[in-house]
Structures are given as structure tokens and as C-alpha cells.
């Protein structure tokens, strides 16, 4: 491990010198260095994955060096790329590779029209914990250390006031979406049409301030039928994950309702509720429980497949029907220290997931973020089943 860190530092120095030299070039060039030390990944040695039979990594050290390059190729054409060089060590096995955080070309045929081609981050929706209308990148960003964005074509038009129209087409599987964004008085929001896996959806979101300190917001996504898999008894003592054919004509909705309060001190308090019609009902969860109990006795046979499908299909805090979320955040609770207390609550089973995040500014260029991940509550609840407690430390340096 020490050898790997030394190698990483050596490569980092070489890259840094290269980057300093590159400052002579007419490029916009920024760099940052991120190191994450983690202990025990999600799903390892949980009730879903007893004794880590799925073989998931438990300890990891990931160091990433980001270089942000932006260049105007010609009038109306620019390139934005963030290559990242990764040194990954999981359970003693090291791996080095280079990939792209974001990499796209922007064409501006008109000053108000932007067309991006490539791998790009999209940000849609008004909610904080669950951006359900952002179906193409649904993971919760702030609980993840690193993101993966998709390749596609993004077009956006801004009018002279405060409206914009966006269209996205993903090149990998043909998913696409249209979005109209704007402000109507003090209310801002979106109307969306989305097509994922040839499945049409419509969405709507809005946010409106109440007085100076309060903000209320909501997101709704509706679809006919669902592509989600549900646990079913395939035969006596054997379970499987299958689409619910009989519900193909049912209209499913996901709804997020939230409220935000900002105090004079800089503290922000956010409360959110998610209703997730495509999640497991209490009856479905009972089948899942039976399936887990049976699968654990048949790990050498079909059981591993059932557990593997559960792990693959699991979406963080969108497994059941009802969830709550609370966040208290103050980026400068002390002169150099920020604190965010995030809590997910699975209303269906009474389980909690605590995610405190402490950020320490160690000088103007260095930031250390420590994140804890602590599931508490009933042992048969979702969070306890899928997660064990772990901590991750993130050291970030900006050159």
C-alpha cells in the first residue's frame, strides 16, 4: 500500500510539473487532487451479503487527480474536459487508470443556444435528496464520492427573460427528455417529458419562497407501468425478481415534497418526504424477507442469484414506498469548519441512516471532508439489510 501511495505521489508530482508548464499554453487549466480513504463498503457483510459472499471490496483508498481543461476552439465552439487519473486500492489490490469525469464539446450556433456533445453532468429538479425528475442520473450525489455521467447530446436554449428549453438524447440506449424551465412570479419550475427504456414519463417540479427564510418545493414523476422488478415466489421455497405484468396499465407516481429554512447564521434546514409508488409495499417487502431467508439457506444454488439481483437492483433510499429526509447544514459553523447532518428515515420500517459530514478548511487550498455512514434501527429494515457503518475521509487539494 505504501508503494502505491509513493507511486501515486510520484505521478502526481510529474503531472503537477506538466500542468505548471501547461500554464504557458493559452488554455484554462485547473487541477485538484482528491484522496478518499474508506473503511467497509456498502453491502459487505450485511444481511443481504452475509460474510461478504458477493466478494465486494471492504477497504479502499482511492486517489484521484483531476485536470480541468477548457479551450475555445473557434468562434462558437469550445471544449471542456476533466480527465481524471485514478489510483485505486481495494482490499490490497491496486489498479490505475485514466477516464473522464466530464468531456464534451459545446457548439454555440446562436448566443442563446448551446449544444453539448459528450459526457456531461445534468442538473434538473428542485428537490435536494431525491431529484426524481433527473431520471438519467438518479444517484444521490452527496452520498457518493464519485459520479459517473453519461454520453449524450444536450441542447439548451435561453430566452431573454428567465426561461430555458432543454433536450437530451443519450447515445448509449436512446433515452431522451424534453424540459421547459422558467419562473412565473416567485415560483420557478419545470415541465418535463422523458423517455427511459422506451417508457414514457411526464414530470413537473416547482419551488416557491415563503417570506424571506422559507422555501417550499415539490417534484412529481408519473409513468404508466414500471420497469422495476419485484420479489415473487417463483416456486416452492424459491424466489425471483420479476416485472409485475398485471400492473402494466397502472399509473405510478413518485412525489417529493420539501421545505427549506435558512437562518441568519447561515444554517440551512431541509426536510423532504418521498412517496415512491414503484418501491416495495409492505406486502412486497414481506415476500422479499421470505426470499432472503430462503436465499441465505441456498447460497450455493439459486440464493446467490436472488441476493445478487437484490444488490444490483437496489436504489439507495428508493427501495420502499415512504421516506423522509432531514438536513442541517452550516458551511462555517466555526471559522474553518463546516458541518452537515443528513438523516434518511425509512417510514415503512422505522430505520434511520445518519450521514454526518464534517469539512475542515486546512488553508485556502486544502480541504478535508470526513463522512460517516451509520444505519440504525430494526435489523430487518432496509438500511440495516443493505449497509454496514463506514467512514470515508476525503482530502482535496486545489493547485
Amino acid at each position: 500500500m505504501i508503494r502505491m501511495i509513493k507511486r501515486g505521489l510520484l505521478v502526481g508530482v510529474i503531472l503537477y510539473v506538466t500542468a505548471v508548464c501547461a500554464h504557458e499554453l493559452p488554455l484554462k487549466w485547473d487541477q485538484s487532487w482528491v484522496s478518499v480513504w474508506g473503511r467497509v463498503n456498502q453491502l459487505s457483510d450485511t444481511l443481504v451479503n452475509p460474510q461478504n459472499q458477493l466478494g465486494l471490496a471492504e477497504q479502499y483508498i482511492t486517489t484521484r487527480y483531476y485536470v480541468t481543461v477548457e479551450e475555445a476552439v473557434s468562434d462558437g465552439v469550445s471544449v471542456y474536459a476533466v480527465p481524471r487519473f485514478t489510483w485505486d486500492n481495494r482490499d490490497g489490490e491496486s489498479l490505475q487508470y485514466m477516464d473522464w469525469d466530464e468531456a464534451y464539446m459545446t457548439v454555440t450556433p446562436h448566443p442563446q443556444v448551446f449544444v453539448d456533445v459528450g459526457k456531461k453532468n445534468t442538473r434538473w429538479g428542485t428537490a435536494y435528496a431525491w431529484n426524481i425528475v433527473n431520471i438519467f442520473d438518479p444517484d444521490n450525489r452527496f452520498v457518493k464520492e464519485f459520479n459517473r455521467f453519461r454520453d449524450g447530446v444536450y441542447a439548451q436554449y435561453f430566452d431573454q427573460s428567465d426561461r430555458s428549453i432543454s433536450a437530451i438524447w443519450f447515445t448509449d440506449n436512446g433515452d431522451y427528455a424534453l424540459r421547459l424551465n422558467g419562473q412565473w412570479g416567485r415560483t420557478e419550475g419545470d415541465v418535463l417529458y422523458l423517455n427511459r427504456d422506451h417508457h414514457a414519463m411526464v414530470g413537473f417540479d416547482a419551488a416557491r419562497p415563503l417570506g424571506d427564510a422559507w422555501l417550499v418545493y415539490m417534484e412529481v414523476l408519473a409513468q404508466q407501468g414500471t420497469t422495476a422488478l419485484f420479489p415473487v415466489a417463483a416456486s416452492a421455497g424459491r424466489y425471483d425478481w420479476l416485472p409485475t405484468q398485471s400492473a402494466a396499465k397502472t399509473i405510478y407516481t413518485q412525489q417529493v415534497w420539501g421545505i427549506q429554512y435558512t437562518a441568519l447564521s447561515g444554517t440551512t434546514i431541509i426536510g423532504e418526504y418521498l412517496y415512491n409508488a414503484v418501491g416495495l409495499s409492505d406486502a412486497d417487502y414481506a415476500v422479499f424477507e421470505k426470499g432472503m431467508a430462503a436465499a441465505n439457506k441456498a447460497l450455493q444454488g439459486w440464493g446467490a442469484g436472488f441476493i445478487g439481483d437484490a444488490a444490483d437492483g437496489y436504489r439507495f433510499a428508493q427501495f420502499r414506498r415512504h421516506y423522509g429526509f432531514m438536513r442541517l447544514d452550516n458551511p462555517r459553523i466555526l471559522p474553518h469548519i463546516g458541518l452537515a447532518l443528513n438523516t434518511y428515515y425509512s417510514i415503512s420500517d422505522g430505520g434511520f441512516l445518519l450521514l454526518p459530514v464534517i469539512t475542515v478548511a486546512a488553508g485556502p487550498r486544502c480541504q478535508v471532508t470526513t463522512r460517516f455512514f451509520v444505519p440504525i434501527g430494526p435489523a430487518d429494515g432496509e438500511f440495516k439489510r443493505f449497509y454496514t457503518a463506514y467512514a470515508a475521509m476525503n482530502l482535496q487539494y486545489f493547485f
Partner: protein, 302 residues
């Protein structure tokens, strides 16, 4: 049924696109020029070598200045005076400036420091780009009328904030993002006062709406030049929140602009936060830069 409905939504969005697209033809005025192109109207007015015009105001005078009026100016046009007051912090035209906010503790030593480039479109719209410290680079603060959005790459969407919310030390978001009082406050001339041995014209600024950072501001300005001297900022309850002194001015082109001001907490009077303004430039950005949906596209403006 659902398919028809979803197709209807898609059609609505497309119709919206067509309607909005119809405005493109008329949106080709000067503001459409790409940033940094030769056609961008940009006039550098800052004069770094000009000595600051300093005015001395004691802390004591701010904290305990009496409000007994010694004279009344019955013919004074309060709105016109406030226009002149605002003129010391900016222009009628779109402009940009560099802002440094330094928090000083009770010992007066510099503590946390933030630097921004502020782009002001008009009285209601402005945005700040964090330029220092490096860990904060890429953060943006957009203010449109009474609404403020904070954007950072790490968060999933622009986050709505409050005008009153503390930015650093004693300074709120509005103290930095808003370059004028006229849009949010109705002025009234109170009369004259003697502050630190100098005669000052006193103005009362009353909030026009409840989203504004302060319910009332009492401001002392120079009786002839209307240069701000000090301000007292009150909550809706009447409680004094903070005070400010306008410490120095600088020559910019043919006029004077504010260079430094100091904001002190009304209770912890030993703590002070200094705001420094420099590099005033007339600079117009396209209107959509002040759209919250555009924030993720703003990276480094030069």
C-alpha cells in the same frame, strides 16, 4: 390515456420551444456578443494609482450617534438623493467589480477572507463568482430581485438562499450581492445630524417588501455630495442588527466610487468585517447569464 397525456406534455414543451424561439430574431442587440469578443462593450474605468479619498468616522459615532435632528430639508428629493448614494457603489449601466470580504475578529487581525468578481446587470440582477480561496472557486451567488441562488458543482441544483443569511463574519448575502438600495427601500429625509463633528444628512430607508435583508436602514450621508458616511441596519422588530461605516472612496474615471466599508455587529461590536471594492468596469453580459438555469454553464469569465 396516459400515453395521450404524456404526448400532450411533450407537445406543450415543443410549443413552448417554438414560442420562445420566436423571440430569437429580435434578441440580437449588443448584449448578444460573446464574452471576451472584440464587440463586447467593455470600458475599463478603474484607476489603481488614484489615492483613496478617506473619511474618518469613529466607531463610537456609529454605535451611539444621537438621532436628534438639528435641521430639516423640506425640499429635499429623497429618491434623487438615494440615486446619488447608490451612484457611489455602481453605475446605471451593467458593470463588474472585484470585491474582497475580510473578517476581523476582536483583535482586529484579518481572519477568513473571500474574494469575488461581481457582475451587476441592473438594480435587480447580479451574480458573484468566488475567486478566492481556491477551495471556493467555482461557487456562484446569483441575485435576481429578492431571490438568491447559490450554486456549486458539488450540489445537485442551485440552492435558494435568503438575503439576510450570513456570508462571512458580519456580512450578509445582500450586503455583497446588492449594489444599490433604491430597488428595495423607500427613502425619506429625516434632517441633519452632527456626526463626529461633521454635519450629515440623515435618510430613513424603509423596506418595500419583506424579502429584503433589513426592515429599515438609517443612513447618514454627506449633505452636499451625498456620499454615504455610516448606516444602521434594523430588523422588523426594531432591533439594531449591524452598523456600517463607509471608510474610503476611490477615483474611478470622472467620479468617485466606494473603496472600503466596514460592517460591525450591533452586539459584538468588537467584531468587524471589511468589504473592499476595486476594478470597477462597465461590462455587459448577456441577459441569460442572470438565469438560475444558466449557472452550471458559467465557469470562468475573464
Amino acid at each position: 390515456m396516459f400515453k395521450k397525456w404524456s404526448k400532450g406534455v411533450a407537445a406543450l414543451i415543443i410549443v413552448g420551444a417554438i414560442i420562445a424561439g420566436g423571440t430569437m430574431a429580435v434578441n440580437t442587440d449588443g448584449s448578444d456578443h460573446p464574452i471576451g469578443s472584440d464587440e463586447t462593450p467593455e470600458v475599463a474605468l478603474s484607476s489603481a494609482l488614484s489615492p483613496p479619498v478617506t473619511q474618518a468616522v469613529s466607531i463610537k459615532a456609529v454605535a451611539a450617534a444621537p438621532l436628534a435632528t438639528t435641521d430639516i430639508a423640506p425640499h429635499a428629493d429623497a429618491a434623487a438623493i438615494l440615486e446619488r448614494v447608490d451612484g457611489y457603489r455602481g453605475y446605471q449601466e451593467p458593470f463588474s467589480m472585484a470585491i474582497t470580504v475580510t473578517d476581523r475578529g476582536t483583535d482586529g487581525k484579518p481572519g477568513n477572507r473571500l474574494r469575488f468578481t461581481a457582475h451587476i446587470k441592473d438594480r435587480g440582477s447580479s451574480f458573484l463568482q468566488y475567486t478566492y480561496p481556491p477551495v471556493d472557486q467555482g461557487k456562484l451567488l446569483l441575485m435576481v430581485n429578492e431571490a438568491i441562488w447559490f450554486y456549486h458543482k458539488k450540489i445537485s441544483k442551485p440552492l435558494r438562499l435568503s438575503q439576510r443569511q450570513r456570508l462571512l463574519g458580519n456580512v450578509s448575502n445582500a450586503d455583497v450581492a446588492r449594489a444599490n438600495f433604491a430597488i428595495d427601500y423607500t427613502p425619506q429625509v429625516r434632517g441633519f445630524e452632527v456626526i463626529d463633528g461633521q454635519k450629515a444628512l440623515m435618510l430613513t430607508l424603509t423596506a418595500k417588501h419583506e424579502q429584503v435583508a433589513y426592515a429599515q436602514i438609517i443612513m447618514a450621508v454627506h449633505p452636499r455630495t451625498y456620499r454615504p458616511i455610516l448606516g444602521r441596519f434594523y430588523a422588523a422588530s426594531g432591533k439594531l442588527l449591524k452598523t456600517s461605516t463607509y471608510d474610503s472612496y476611490q477615483r474611478v474615471g470622472d467620479g468617485e466610487k466606494l473603496q472600503t466599508m466596514t460592517i460591525r455587529d450591533a452586539i459584538l461590536t468588537d467584531t468587524q468585517t471589511q468589504i473592499e471594492y476595486r476594478d470597477y468596469q462597465l461590462q455587459a453580459l448577456p441577459p441569460h447569464y442572470y438565469n438560475p438555469d444558466f449557472l452550471p454553464r458559467i465557469r470562468q469569465l475573464e
